[in-house]
Symmetry: C2
Subunit: 278 residues, 2 copies
């Protein structure tokens, strides 16, 4: 990645391409004023977007749910994405699409949204990583099916996460697990079934792909997972666009099985990496 | 207000004064990326900030709670506020102080915060307004004691509010009332006591002043208020920096008393206006 001069990358704000360093918006934008906006983020490998259809489906679904009208049609957005990828020529990277509430005259109501496209370098690994540790935290995201920019709680918890020397928090509501702030959560239960929460979560794209992959070889369930279930879990992992699949070996004081990534985790990681990099 | 050319107003971003129209920040700011920031807003009357001490107390308390280090000391901030007021010369106005999570290299962690000072025209009335109607909505703000920029739910509910032809929502959690998105809530109960919620709310400055004023003439309680309590309430109102005190005459299907502003509401409004404009 070092061979690319990131400072020469272009970003796009609405219909204007401009150097990433000059990508500014007016402070009356509803993201700055009221934390109001949505986004999506996808990988680019060999200069090709990965799972673009699914990310755009979710992006437009988030926009609709948040009552934000995207200034570009789906076709025009795809064209803008392709143009930016071509100009930046950063073969392995990530692109963030953000849609904000726009410049509200009253500082409070949705206006004509601003659309931001930012491409950036992205480090990815094809090796299964060591297992991470999590701590639970009781919290429910607002409009959880929407990929909104609201990460207030997640960012606020960062010092706590660092102090506890864990990788992330795992949100739950009264003991019912939902998700991590930026990844979906899975366990292999005592019956060797793959189980992931289905309610009050963001519908992750990697989650969706993983469920499809796993369904070929094991019983897959979208169903409630409780903190109590963790004590009997044989394996646990999280999935996300950038992390792909990361083993989880401890949650609070609960060690998952023997504290090492299990066989299902390893096998699914391999299948997922093959799919992503194919 | 029409005599002021708003487009000539200055704003301040960190240490730079610049025309309000040119007040931009880079889109990597944590407000745009993660909805992370705090603010405060105070009135300026006769070119003098109103209740500045209280607003600054809350501003710095919000910053501390959100782990944001203000780049200006309290004294330097007061100086910056006074300089902006002098240069803009907009005798009756509002000033918004915003402190964001800054330009995060990783797009996720708090960095050196950006401080934004924006002065704008402000319409205020000295006349008691007709009563407003509210609808309840079950929601609890994140870190409620913090004046964060998180208004996702409030903005999202705007079309619903308009459709219901009411002025605002009143948040509650399992029937226990907290606040409106931008104002505090009070009732006069059947025992002629003034009661306002004290838990899981923003500590409004007007709320605080009102409680002090009212304590001179009646029993004042900071205590839980339930939706059930509304049916027996003799009066209800909301308070805020811009609205001062606004009678509430209906909440969902509950008409407060006879549907008109009551004597306590009227008397307290008069006292508050006297204090603010003195």
């Amino acid at each position: 990645m070092q061979s690319y001069t990131v400072s020469k990358l272009l970003s796009r704000i609405n219909n204007t391409l401009l150097p990433a360093a000059d990508a500014h918006i007016h402070i009356s934008d509803m993201s700055v004023q009221r934390g109001y906006g949505i986004f999506d983020f996808f990988k680019i490998i060999h200069n090709r977007p990965v799972f673009l259809k699914e990310h755009l489906d979710r992006f437009f679904a988030s926009a609709r749910a948040m009552r934000l009208h995207c200034p570009l049609s789906r076709e025009a957005l795809i064209q803008a994405i392709e143009e930016l990828i071509q100009k930046n020529d950063l073969p392995q990277s990530g692109m963030r699409l953000t849609l904000t509430g726009g410049y509200a005259a009253d500082g409070y109501s949705i206006h004509e949204p601003n659309l931001l496209l930012v491409q950036q370098p992205l480090q990815l690994t094809k090796e299964l990583q060591p297992g991470i540790r999590l701590i639970t935290h009781e919290h429910q995201r607002q409009l959880p099916h929407v990929k909104s920019i609201d990460y207030l709680m997640a960012v606020w918890l960062q010092p706590h996460i660092r102090q506890q020397e864990v990788a992330d928090v795992l949100y739950h509501q009264q003991g019912i697990i939902t998700e991590c702030p930026r990844s979906n959560f899975f366990i292999v239960n005592k019956h060797n079934e793959l189980v992931t929460p289905s309610l009050n979560i963001l519908a992750g794209i990697t989650r969706k792909k993983l469920l499809e992959l796993a369904a070929g070889s094991m019983t897959v369930k979208e169903a409630p997972v409780t903190i109590a279930d963790l004590r009997e879990a044989k394996e646990a992992f999280v999935t996300s666009t950038t992390k792909h699949l990361l083993p989880v070996i401890q949650i609070d004081d609960i060690t998952i099985a023997d504290g090492h990534a299990g066989p299902v985790t390893s096998a699914l990681f391999g299948e997922l990496i093959n799919m992503v990099f194919s």
